[in-house]
């Protein structure tokens, strides 16, 4: 018999056989449709503590599920599936499997912070969304994206020299993402600069591009920042039970 309310059932829970005969009765196709149970069978007891260990997740345990965050949410107005209240509940109870279903939309938070001001319990849901996206990334549930590759190159550049050398950031980004190092738009940009900029500026541009000078006295500052970042990464990896150097 056809199932009339199939929309209420997750597609992966619907099972049918193209060819199936039971006791001589042909039940091929939708005649053999059955629905797999969707029962929750366990809790991940570490989950809340893991998210709480990441920056922004500290206050998640305060949530009393009033829904103020979801009601005020900019993204929820656009996509009803974007539901911070629901995700916070899943994390608090350790319903990991459920959370992972939404791993590709959690990052969509635009950090408008309306939820932050609506929350009566000071959970700071916006920060929890960041921590959750971070958790998904550290746990390897969400892969590298173009933007995370760019961010890594950008951060490395800043930590290395104390300033941003756009040309270098771009080249690293193109190289790591397998793109041509000199796309037409970049060539046009450079040619335009060469034609119009005074020689003095051009000379300075070229010099910084080649020599990549550091901010004066950067050595100790950069090292301190690097140490700090490494420590935080190690802490977070430990909190999440990850062995290697977490994050990217």
């Amino acid at each position: 018999m056809p199932i009339h309310e199939k929309t209420l059932i997750r597609p992966e829970n619907l099972v049918s056989h193209d060819e199936l005969v039971i006791d001589g009765v042909d039940v091929s196709g939708h005649w053999s449709t059955f629905i797999k149970p969707r029962t929750i069978t366990d809790y991940n007891e570490e989950m809340q503590a893991e998210i709480a260990a990441l920056p922004g997740g500290e206050n998640i345990h305060r949530c009393w599920q009033c829904g103020s965050c979801t009601n005020s949410c900019t993204m929820n107005a656009v996509n009803p599936e974007f539901n911070p209240r629901y995700w916070i509940y899943l994390i608090r109870q350790g319903l990991e499997e459920e959370l992972l279903r939404d791993k590709d939309i959690i990052w969509q938070c635009v950090s408008c912070n309306k939820c932050t001001y609506a929350c009566p319990r000071d959970v700071v849901p916006e920060a929890v969304m960041k921590a959750t996206a971070h958790w998904l990334e550290l746990k390897g549930h969400t892969g590298e994206s173009l933007s995370s590759v760019f961010d890594r190159g950008f951060t490395d550049n800043v930590v290395h020299s104390g300033k941003i050398e756009e040309g270098h950031v771009l080249r690293i980004f193109f190289w790591r993402t397998g793109q041509p190092l000199a796309p037409p738009w970049l060539r046009d940009l450079i040619l335009g600069l060469v034609k119009k900029l005074p020689v003095f500026y051009l000379y300075n541009l070229l010099k910084t591009a080649v020599l990549r000078p550091k901010t004066r006295g950067w050595g100790k500052t950069g090292a301190a920042i690097e140490d700090y970042v490494r420590e935080r990464h190690a802490e977070q990896a430990a909190a999440l039970g990850l062995s290697g150097k977490g994050g990217h």
């Binding site: 969707r38 929750i40 366990d42 809790y43 007891e45 305060r62 599920q65 509940y89």
Partner: protein, 351 residues
């Protein structure tokens, strides 16, 4: 006004408080308790630390018992029940099961409640699985000092479920009332379990949380924020076993998903039934019971603690689920009402 004693039936927190109040005013009080000692449920059932004071029951209520036992104005009859109660306000005569006759000016019923018997909800596994226990049993585990252990094999449970509203708010078994104290007692117990065995995770399954007033912060939220107790909005359908662990089935209503979760121990937060003797008490004292089977009260504001019979007063959990603190306050209020024979003249004028 005559100077006959005030008869107080029941030696729990309410009765002890009423007796002390009567005696403090210089009058005589007589306590009759069917148990072999005073203290009521907190002592007889072996409660651990009380809410909200965190004092051990044997110290807190034990102190009230000592105060009564050493007061020359108070006479105590334990192991006895009132078998007949006749007369009028100012001139009552009670006959006890041990043959004693007591003349009394007025009577205060401080007869308390009876814990819900979990056998009446067989689907939750009490009586079938040894690791399904009641809050009273866990109170006893804590007060015995032996810690939280599964009764079946003595192991420390990795995961404990506390089910709220067992024997409360349930029309199926004729118990529509909220037992008032179980949410806070359970919240406190969850924290105590976490403290006694930090590796035990505690989950509370609830329909609503009624940690009213100041209990909200000190019990409900402290439990979550500091002890990391988990609260899940689900009414459990049944408790079964997979042969190794208990299996709790229900629906997590906030995610609209069925749950089938393994647990090592299930604790039922049992509610407060009317005292099983209330039918007898009602007949002996000639007082009406309310629709739930508790001892009925007259109007709420003008006639504090009065029953349907002039000169007979009620306090504490005898007239409905009550906290220990409020039972103690009501005991004092009933004492004042009894001493001044509140409501008696109004009733006589009406006749």
């Amino acid at each position: 006004m005559s100077e006959k004693p005030i008869l107080i039936v029941g030696g729990g927190p309410a009765g002890l408080s009423a007796a002390h109040a009567v005696a403090s005013s210089g009058r005589q009080a007589v306590i009759v308790d069917k148990a072999d000692r005073l203290g009521g449920a907190p002592i007889l059932q072996g409660y651990a630390k009380l809410v909200p004071s965190h004092e051990w029951a044997k110290d807190a209520i034990g102190g009230m018992v000592t105060r009564v036992q050493t007061n020359a104005n108070i006479t105590v009859h334990t192991g006895a029940q009132v078998q007949s109660f006749a007369g009028d306000p100012g001139d009552f005569l009670a006959a006890l099961s041990d043959g004693t006759k007591i003349e009394a000016d007025a009577a205060i019923l401080a007869t308390g409640f009876t814990h819900f018997d979990s056998l009446n909800k067989p689907e939750w596994g009490f009586g079938t699985y040894p690791d399904v226990v009641t809050t009273v049993q866990v109170e006893q585990m804590i007060s015995s000092g032996k810690g939280i252990r599964c009764p079946s094999d003595g192991r420390v449970p990795e995961r404990v479920a506390i089910l709220l509203c067992v024997g409360s708010r349930d029309r199926q078994i004729g118990r529509e009332w909220c037992s008032k104290i179980c949410c806070t007692v359970s919240a406190n117990m969850a924290m105590e379990i976490r403290e006694l065995s930090p590796k035990t995770n505690v989950y509370v399954y609830y329909m609503d949380i009624r940690t009213f007033g100041l209990y909200e912060g000190e019990f409900y939220w402290k439990g979550q924020e500091e002890a990391r107790v988990k609260y899940i909005k689900a009414r459990i359908a049944e408790v079964t076993s997979d042969g190794k662990r208990l299996v709790v089935k229900g629906e997590d209503t906030l995610v609209k998903r069925p749950i089938t979760i393994p647990f090592d121990m299930v604790v039922q937060a049992i509610g407060m039934d009317p005292n099983v003797d209330n039918m007898t008490l009602g007949a002996v004292f000639g007082v009406d019971l309310n629709q739930y089977g508790y001892i009925g009260k007259a109007a709420a504001y003008t006639t504090t603690g009065q029953t349907s019979r002039p000169g007979v007063y009620v306090c504490g959990a005898a007239s409905g689920p009550e906290t220990i603190d409020d039972s103690i306050a009501q005991g004092q209020a009933a004492a004042i009402a009894a001493l001044s024979r509140q409501g008696v003249r109004v009733a006589q004028a009406a006749e």
